[in-house]
C-alpha cells in the first residue's frame, strides 16, 4: 500500500493527496425472531485528490500503478481548468501510524446474541455491524498517516402494540465492548415502557424540560455542529444538507446562555466518531464551538481555514472512495455542575424526555422538533408518571437562550450523519450532559 501511495505523490506536479483504503464490513440481521441474513463486504481502493485551480478527484478499486497513473492524469487535468488558485492553510507535516486493537467474537456468539434479542418480543428488526477500516493517507507536502480502526454497531427497532422504539449502540472498539452496552436490559426496559405509554398523561402545555444526553446531543449536533461547518457557511452544501444561520463575521457573538458550551472532539476514546488524524493529515484536537454562550470556532478543513484566515481544526473526513469534506466527530454539551436530582427539584411543572423517535430541523438549522418516546411528567420537583409523547418544537436560539442548567455527567451515543452528494454517511457520536430548558411550549 505504502509503495503505491508514494508512487502517486512523487509523480504529481500539483498538490496531491492519496488514500489507499481497505474496509471489511460484516453484518447480521434478525427480524421477528428469525435469522434473515449474514453478509460480508470487502472493499479495497484508492482515491486521489489534486488541488490547484480546481479540484480533480479520482477514485478506483483497481489498485495498481497503471490505474494510479490514469487517475492522477485525469485529476491533474481537472485541477488545471479553473481560473483562480485554490489555497490551503499551512499545516504541520505529520507522520504517524496508529491502530486501535479489538477482540473479535466467534460467529456463533454473535448470532446467539442477536437470536436472543430477537426473541424478546414478536415484532422487531435488529442489525449488528462490524467495520474494520485500514487506511494510508499521504500528501505531497510529506504527511503520511497509517490508521487501523474497528467500529462496532448494533441497532434495534421494536414494535409493541401500536408503539415503537429504536436504539443504537456503537463504539470504536472490538466485540469486547458489547458486554458494556447492556443491550438486553435496555431492550427489556424499552418493551416494558412501550406497554405503558398508552396510559401516560399529556405533558403540560408550557413548562420546563429536562433532556437526556440522547436528545441534548442531537441538539448539539443539529443546532450547533452542522451550522458551524465552514463549508455550509460559505455555501458549498447549499443544494444538499443546506446552509447555516451562521455567518463568517459572527465569531465571538453571544448565541446562548453562559451555561452553554458545546464541543466537538474526535479524540474521545472509544466514541463512535473517534479519529486521531483527519483525511487531510491534520492532527485532531478538541473544537470548542460554543464557549460559555459565545461562538468560539467553526469546523474547518484546510480550504475553509485558509479562506477564513485560521488553521484547520482537522474536521476533514471522507467515506471510503469519496472526497473529504467537513464533518463532526463527537459533538456534545460540555458538563455543568448540576446533578439530575437538583435539576428536577427546581421544576414546578415540566417534563423529562429520555428517548426520541422523530426529529428534524430546517436547512438553516433554526426550526427544530423532537418528539419524546420515553418521557416523564415532572410536578413540584418530583417525577410522577409517564408523559405520552411530549414534543418540543422550538428555534435553536430559544433553546440556547433558555438553558439554565447543565448536568455534571456526560455520555456519548453513536449516530450516523448524512452529508454531501453522493451522500456520505459518517460515523459520529452525540451526547454530553442532561440539559434543562426553562419555560417553553410543550406539545
Amino acid at each position: 500500500m505504502e509503495e503505491l501511495a508514494e508512487y502517486a505523490i512523487k509523480n504529481s506536479k500539483y498538490y496531491t493527496e492519496i488514500r489507499i483504503e481497505k474496509e471489511k464490513i460484516d453484518e447480521i440481521i434478525f427480524t421477528n425472531g428469525d435469522f434473515i441474513d449474514i453478509s460480508s463486504d470487502e472493499k479495497y481502493g484508492f482515491s486521489i485528490r489534486v488541488i490547484d485551480k480546481a479540484i480533480g478527484f479520482y477514485s478506483s478499486n483497481v489498485v495498481n500503478k497503471k490505474e494510479i497513473r490514469k487517475g492522477l492524469k485525469i485529476a491533474e487535468k481537472i485541477a488545471s481548468i479553473g481560473k483562480n488558485k485554490i489555497f490551503l492553510s499551512e499545516e504541520k507535516i505529520n507522520e504517524d501510524r496508529y491502530e486501535i486493537k479489538g477482540k473479535d467474537f466467534q460467529i456463533d456468539e454473535k448470532i446467539d446474541l442477536l437470536k436472543n434479542l430477537s426473541g424478546f418480543n414478536k415484532k422487531n428488526f435488529i442489525s449488528f455491524r462490524e467495520k474494520q477500516g485500514e487506511k494510508i493517507y499521504m500528501n505531497s507536502e510529506g504527511s503520511k498517516i497509517f490508521s487501523k480502526i474497528p467500529r462496532i454497531y448494533l441497532y434495534y427497532l421494536i414494535t409493541v402494540g401500536r408503539e415503537q422504539a429504536s436504539r443504537e449502540f456503537g463504539n470504536v472498539s472490538g466485540c469486547e465492548v458489547i458486554g458494556e452496552w447492556g443491550i438486553e436490559k435496555k431492550m427489556e426496559e424499552d418493551i416494558n415502557f412501550l406497554k405503558k405509554i398508552e396510559k401516560g398523561k399529556k405533558a403540560p402545555k408550557k413548562g420546563d424540560v429536562i433532556l437526556s444526553p440522547l436528545i441534548s446531543g442531537l441538539i448539539a449536533h443539529e443546532g450547533c455542529g452542522h451550522p458551524f461547518e465552514a463549508d455550509r457557511i460559505i455555501g458549498r452544501e447549499l443544494a444538499q444538507a443546506g446552509k447555516s444561520y451562521i455567518r463568517q463575521d459572527m465569531l465571538g457573538r453571544k448565541i446562548a446562555n453562559e451555561e452553554v458550551s458545546i464541543e466537538d472532539n474526535p479524540l474521545v476514546e472509544r466514541a463512535y466518531g473517534y479519529y486521531k488524524y483527519d483525511d487531510e493529515g491534520v492532527k485532531a484536537r478538541k473544537r470548542e464551538l460554543i464557549k460559555e454562550g459565545r461562538i468560539n470556532e467553526f469546523l474547518h478543513n484546510r480550504q475553509t481555514a485558509y479562506e477564513m484566515n485560521c488553521k484547520s481544526n482537522a474536521s476533514s473526513r471522507a467515506n471510503y472512495g469519496k472526497e473529504p469534506i467537513i464533518r463532526m466527530a463527537n459533538t456534545y454539551f460540555k458538563q455543568g455542575d448540576y446533578s439530575f436530582e437538583e435539576m428536577v427539584e427546581e421544576i414546578k411543572n415540566g417534563v423529562y424526555i429520555v428517548t426520541f423517535m422523530e426529529w428534524n430541523i430546517d436547512d438553516r438549522r433554526i426550526n427544530q422538533k423532537y418528539v419524546g418516546n420515553e418521557a416523564y411528567i415532572i410536578k413540584n420537583g418530583k417525577i410522577c408518571g409517564i408523559a405520552k409523547h411530549p414534543c418540543i418544537e422550538l428555534s435553536t436560539f430559544e433553546i440556547f437562550s433558555k438553558i439554565d442548567a447543565v448536568g455534571k455527567d456526560i455520555e456519548f451515543h453513536p449516530a450516523t450523519c448524512g452529508k454531501s452528494e453522493p451522500i456520505q454517511d459518517m460515523e459520529v457520536s452525540t451526547g454530553g450532559a442532561d440539559i434543562r430548558i426553562r419555560n417553553v411550549r410543550i406539545k
Binding site: I29, T31, N32, F35, I36, D37, I38, S39, S40, E42, K43, Y44, G45, A54, I55, F57, Y58, S59, S60, N61, V62, V63, I74, A75, I78, I81, G82, I107, K123, N124, F125, L157, E163, Q164, I234, G235, R236, E237, L238, A239, Q240, A241, G242, K243, E358, N360, I361, D362, D363, I366, N367, K369, V371, H389, E393, L394, S395, E421, P422, K443
Partner: protein, 420 residues
C-alpha cells in the same frame, strides 16, 4: 468461477462495472470534478437451508476462491433461513442507454450552462453514471444489462429566497431554461416573509415536494419493511390507503427512468407493479423470499434481502397546474426535506418546508411563509389528496431514495406546525 459454486444448492453472482462522474459547483463556480471507476462482484450462496451474501471489489479468481472457501467454513454456524430464486425471463429492454452521459466536456459545458442561468448565488451538482451488470444464477440465468443516468440538482439563492431545480434523464440532456426561469420567478418576488400560523391548510405540493412523500410511500410498500415493523401499510392490502384520485405504481421498465433495470438482483425480469390503484393498496413489492412468505409471486424488485422500488410513478391527473394554483386558498410548497417518522407503523411523521412556500388566496400569491413543518400522518396526507396535475416530472435528488415521476398535488386539511 462457476466450478467453485457447484456444491451449493443455489447461487447468484452479480458483477457490476461502472464509471461515474460528478461536477460540483458553488458560489457560481465549478470547484471539483469527481470520477469513480468501480468493479464489484456480489455473491449469494445457499446450501442445506443456509444462506450467506458477500461482495468483493475488483475481483479476480484468486480472491473469489478465497472468499468462497472462507464462506464454506461459516456455513455450519449460520441458522437456517428460507431462500429461493424465481425465474421470469420476460425481459423488456426498451430503456434508453446513452454512453455520452460521462463525456467530461459535455458535462462541464452543461454545468456551466446551469451556473450561467442563475440570477443569484447557485450551488449544486451534475452527476452521471454508466454501468454494466452481468448476472448468473443457479437456475441457468446468464444475462447482461447496461444503464446510464444523468441528473442535475442545484439551488439558487437570492437574499433570503431560494429555489431548487432538478433535471433527470438516462441521456445527457439540455436543461429546461423555461423551467429554471419559473424557479427564478419565485426568488425574484420582493415580498416580506411572515411566520406561518399553526393550523390546518390546503396545500399545493410542487413535484419536487411531493416526490419526497411519494418515495417514502413506495419504500413502505417493500414487503421486508412491512414484516419488520417499518411500514404503515402492514395488513392493508385491499384496503383504502389513499384518495381514490391517486394511483401509484413501481416500474423497472420505464424508458427514461433513472433506476430502470432489465432484471432484479435475482435475475428476474423487472416490470410495472401497481402499488395503489384508485386509493386501494393492491400490492407490496416482493423478492422471491418475501413473496413466498406472503403467498405471492415476486414482483421483480429484489434486493436479495430487501425488495426495493425502482422508479415510483404517480399516475397523471386531469388538472392543469395553473388551474390548481388559481383555485388554491392555502399554501403552495415548492420543496420539503428531513422527513422523519415518530412511528413507522402508524405513519406519524413530520417534514420541513425548504426553499419558497407561499400563502395563496384565491390563486394569488400574497406572501412567502417561513417556519413551516408538516406534522401529520402519511396515510392521512395521501387520503386527503384532492387534485393531481397532468404535468409530471421525474425527480431524483438528495431527498428521494429513488426516482419519482411526480406531479403537482393538492391536499386538504394538512396539519402545519412551527418551532419559530
Amino acid at each position: 468461477m462457476i466450478e467453485y459454486l457447484k456444491e451449493f444448492d443455489e447461487y447468484i453472482i452479480k458483477e457490476e462495472k461502472s464509471i461515474a462522474k460528478q461536477v460540483r459547483f458553488y458560489r457560481n463556480k465549478v470547484e471539483i470534478l469527481n470520477t469513480w471507476n468501480r468493479r464489484e462482484i456480489y455473491i449469494t450462496l445457499y446450501k442445506d437451508g443456509r444462506k450467506m451474501t458477500f461482495s468483493i471489489e475488483n475481483p479476480d479468481r484468486k480472491k473469489i476462491k478465497k472468499r468462497i472457501e472462507e464462506a464454506k467454513k461459516f456455513f455450519k454456524f449460520i441458522p437456517p433461513s428460507p431462500f429461493s430464486i424465481s425465474i421470469d425471463r420476460n425481459y423488456s429492454n426498451e430503456k434508453i442507454f446513452d454512453r455520452n452521459v460521462v463525456d467530461e466536456e459535455k458535462i462541464l459545458d452543461t454545468a456551466n450552462q446551469v451556473i450561467n442561468s442563475s440570477n443569484g448565488e447557485i450551488a449544486g451538482i451534475l452527476y452521471s453514471r454508466i454501468e454494466n451488470i452481468r448476472l448468473i444464477n443457479s437456475e441457468g440465468i446468464d444475462e447482461s444489462d447496461e444503464n446510464s443516468m444523468f441528473y442535475i440538482s442545484c439551488r439558487m439563492l437570492k437574499n433570503d429566497c431560494s429555489a431548487h431545480y432538478t433535471f433527470c434523464s438516462r441521456k445527457i440532456g439540455k436543461i429546461d431554461e423555461k423551467e429554471i426561469d419559473e424557479e427564478k420567478e419565485y426568488i425574484n418576488k420582493k415580498m416580506k416573509f411572515k411566520k406561518v400560523k399553526e393550523g390546518k391548510y390546503k396545500i399545493l405540493f410542487s413535484p419536487l415536494a411531493f416526490s419526497n412523500l411519494s418515495s417514502n410511500f413506495a419504500d413502505f410498500s417493500s414487503a421486508f419493511f412491512v414484516k419488520s415493523g417499518y411500514s404503515f401499510l402492514d395488513g392493508k392490502i385491499g384496503k383504502k390507503v389513499a384518495s381514490e384520485n391517486i394511483s401509484i405504481y413501481d416500474s423497472g421498465i420505464e424508458k427514461d427512468g433513472l433506476f430502470s433495470r432489465k432484471f432484479d438482483d435475482e435475475g428476474v425480469a423487472t416490470r410495472k407493479t401497481i402499488i395503489v390503484e384508485r386509493g386501494i393498496l393492491k400490492n407490496y413489492l416482493y423478492n422471491s423470499v418475501t413473496a413466498k412468505e406472503y403467498g405471492k409471486n415476486t414482483t421483480g424488485n429484489a434486493g436479495i434481502v430487501v425488495p426495493v422500488p425502482w422508479n415510483t410513478i404517480i399516475e397523471k391527473g386531469d388538472c392543469k397546474k395553473e388551474e390548481m394554483m388559481e383555485e388554491l386558498n392555502g399554501i403552495f410548497i415548492t420543496n420539503i426535506w428531513y422527513t422523519r417518522f415518530k412511528n413507522y407503523r402508524t405513519g406519524d411523521f413530520s417534514t420541513v418546508a425548504r426553499d419558497m412556500a407561499f400563502f395563496v388566496k384565491n390563486g394569488e400569491i400574497l406572501y412567502p411563509l417561513k417556519g413551516i413543518r408538516i406534522s401529520d400522518k402519511i396515510d392521512k396526507i395521501f387520503k386527503n389528496i384532492e387534485k393531481i396535475s397532468k404535468e409530471r416530472k421525474q425527480i431524483y435528488w438528495w431527498e428521494t431514495s429513488h426516482p419519482v415521476f411526480s406531479p403537482f398535488v393538492t391536499v386538504k386539511n394538512v396539519n402545519v406546525t412551527t418551532g419559530l
